[in-house]
């Protein structure tokens, strides 16, 4: 059964023909190639690596770039792509977000011509897989505290430290690693560390209960020698990684809607066919209808937020706090919808015959990655009051 979309307020009319075409293409791919296998993948804890060549052929990697023969999508088309991918699975969307926004975007934006020529085409074709190392075991919301350090040694850098919760880590050919240069007080720079470099290992996080169809790893650096030509020349300081995160969070703002649409649609179909009490569908029960009224209203509000954000991104007026608002809201919507859908499905809400529990478990990760819900709350607090509460000025 193919997905026909969730569009209570006729938002379709606000999309261009090519935006709709991009969405419908990814929608068909998810219906035909992702949904038939994803439940098994999640159960087995396996990333469906066999989908990578297909996604590459469709140009899903680096799709907003227009050089290197890439499609140069606008922001709304890109967002709709993320929405449909996450309707499939948050792990799949994460893969594309990391490859595109956290690896290709910074190499394209801050890389040298040689770095771009080498990596952008390979990453676009899916021949190389990338990952992004910022978070450390002890530093998540406060990346400025990172302890990974690169020390100069002749023409090379010697890298020491560890990163954690890295999507694609163990399957990546190239890791964009953010490290402080000199010592822990030095400025942050980006290093392209390649698989197989001596002293670089990427053990997988074990016993993961969420994003099971996605690879999540640690990156460990023990005296890894990185040539100077592997440093991104175009950026210094935390604004490098933070600018990447703004791009990725933009995609997640749409992705959350996809997850919400998946659980909402599943629950709606279920409630219309599940009969209890005098052979009436549970969709006729007032308490069930109240849940649907909540879900459809929140999804619709989220769609309007995401669409407005996308138009602002293309107009160049989108600021990080705008992204914080929509990432925070739309992932929360997805989380609430997953919980309500799970309630509506009763016991069927906990088995893999339906996609609900997988989304419910996945969204727990999305809720606190790429800026936790709480940190985005504080970003918004700072945006309206002018006072940064999580890092207040010293009295």
């Amino acid at each position: 059964m193919s997905f026909s979309g969730v569009d209570f307020l006729g938002i379709e009319d606000m999309l261009s023909e090519d935006e709709r075409a991009v969405r419908d293409l990814v929608r068909a791919f998810v219906d035909e190639d992702v949904l038939p296998i994803i439940e098994e993948c999640a159960y087995e804890g396996r990333f469906p690596v066999e989908l990578v060549p297909k996604m590459a052929a469709m140009n899903l990697f680096g799709s907003t770039i227009s050089e290197y023969g890439l499609p140069g999508l606008n922001s709304v088309a890109y967002g709709l792509m993320a929405q449909e991918l996450e309707r499939g699975d948050s792990g799949l969307r994460s893969f594309v977000s990391v490859q595109s926004s956290l690896v290709m975007y910074p190499i394209y934006t801050y890389g040298s011509k040689e770095q771009k020529d080498r990596w952008i085409p390979a990453l676009a074709r899916g021949e190389s897989i990338g990952c992004f190392g910022l978070t450390e075991p002890d530093f998540g919301s406060n990346p400025a505290g990172m302890r990974t350090v690169a020390k100069r040694d002749g023409n090379d850098w010697i890298l020491n430290g560890a990163k954690s919760w890295i999507t694609n880590g163990s399957i990546a050919d190239v890791a964009l690693v953010w490290a402080k240069v000199g010592d822990v007080n030095g400025p942050v720079r980006g290093f392209l560390v390649e698989r197989g470099m001596k002293g670089f290992t990427a053990p997988e996080h074990r016993m993961k209960m969420s994003l099971r169809a996605s690879v999540t790893s640690q990156l460990v650096f023990e005296d890894v020698r990185v040539p100077a030509a592997s440093v991104l020349p175009g950026v210094e300081g935390l604004k490098g990684p933070l600018s990447c995160l703004t791009q990725a969070r933009y995609g997640i703002s749409w992705g959350g809607l996809g997850s919400a649409m998946a659980t909402y649609t599943c629950a709606l179909d279920y409630a219309k066919s599940r009969k209890q009490f005098k052979d009436r569908p549970i969709a006729s029960h007032q308490l069930v209808q109240a849940k649907f009224a909540f879900m459809i209203t929140e999804i619709t509000k989220g769609q309007l937020l995401a669409l407005r954000l996308g138009r602002m991104r293309d107009a160049g007026t989108m600021k990080p706090e705008h992204v914080s608002m929509v990432k925070r809201n739309n992932v929360w919507v997805a989380r609430e919808c997953a919980k309500l859908a799970r309630e509506i499905l009763g016991a069927n809400g906990i088995v893999g015959e339906y996609p609900v529990f997988r989304h419910l478990a996945n969204i727990e990760s999305v809720f606190t990655y790429e800026g936790t819900h709480d940190i985005h709350t504080l970003v918004l607090g700072q945006a309206v009051t002018g006072i940064p509460s999580y890092n207040p000025p010293m009295e």
Partner: protein, 262 residues
């Protein structure tokens, strides 16, 4: 080689069909439209041939403005040009009328292979392939599941009852594609962006050399007089299986006395 692929833009096979007031047409509100899956095999066949040997692929349809979306999808997958013969204002046109309009447009274009699915999934009349070939005075081979190209000819494989038939057809000719011929590709995002910049040529029936009066309305040989939905399916009857012998007896009785199939 120059390939012409005729496509039908039809209701999605998953669409819940409702009959419109008047009882001779379907209610088009809320219908999702798609390129017929059988025409997708035809398009894929043409694209693979173009990639192997060069040439052009032109997508052609007869239909209203909404069919432009289907043509744009063909462009996004790799067709070079797209032509729509506009159906607006014509009223009902039967299969022969559609074949005449398509043939008229094709005659004006260089063509080595004319492709289409063995059927659309709209009215499912399954007559266009032979009709079109007759009107173009070309040979045709229908229900093709495999092709081997030779100089000036093509070997077409057809699954027939209990056997496989291999037909050699000289070119130019008409190929009716069906499931099994290939696995249609997805469009690419690059293709979608490139398709956006291409123009769809919209032609009138007169451009195709056909006087609308001779194909539409009273001139149509086949007209719909009434549409009816199939009767609603009855609830499934489960035969309890605790005692297999008893269940078998009961099942036999039901098949004979109620379903009347024995």
């Amino acid at each position: 080689m120059n390939h012409i692929v005729c496509i039908a833009y039809v209701p999605d096979t998953e669409t819940k069909i409702r009959i419109a007031a008047g009882g001779v047409s379907i209610d088009e509100a809320d219908v999702k439209w798609i390129v017929s899956p059988y025409d997708e095999y035809a398009l894929e066949g043409a694209l693979q041939m173009k990639e192997a040997k060069g040439g052009t692929v032109t997508a052609l349809t007869f239909g209203p403005a909404r069919a432009d979306t289907g043509l744009r999808e063909c462009l996004a997958r790799g067709a070079d040009d797209a032509i729509r013969i506009a159906s607006e204002g014509l009223g009902e046109v039967d299969s022969l009328g559609v074949a005449r309009l398509l043939a008229g447009a094709i005659k004006a274009l260089p063509h080595d292979v004319v492709w289409m699915g063995n059927k659309g999934v709209g009215t499912d009349a399954q007559v266009l392939v032979p009709m079109l070939a007759e009107l173009l005075d070309l040979p045709h081979v229908n229900l093709v599941t495999k092709l081997e190209w030779k100089d000036g000819a093509v070997l077409a494989y057809r699954e027939i009852e209990g056997a496989r038939e291999i037909v050699e057809m000289p070119l130019p000719g008409v190929i009716g594609a069906t499931k099994g011929l290939n696995e249609p590709r997805y469009a690419s995002l690059k293709g979608i962006m490139a398709a956006k910049k291409k123009a769809i040529a919209v032609k009138t029936p007169a451009d195709a050399g056909v006087d609308p009066v001779t194909v539409a309305g009273e001139a149509a040989h086949v007209r719909w007089t009434k549409l009816e939905l199939p009767p609603a399916r009855q609830a499934v009857k489960l035969v309890p299986g605790d005692d297999p012998a008893k269940a078998a007896t009961e099942l036999l009785r039901l098949l004979r006395d109620e379903a009347k199939v024995l």
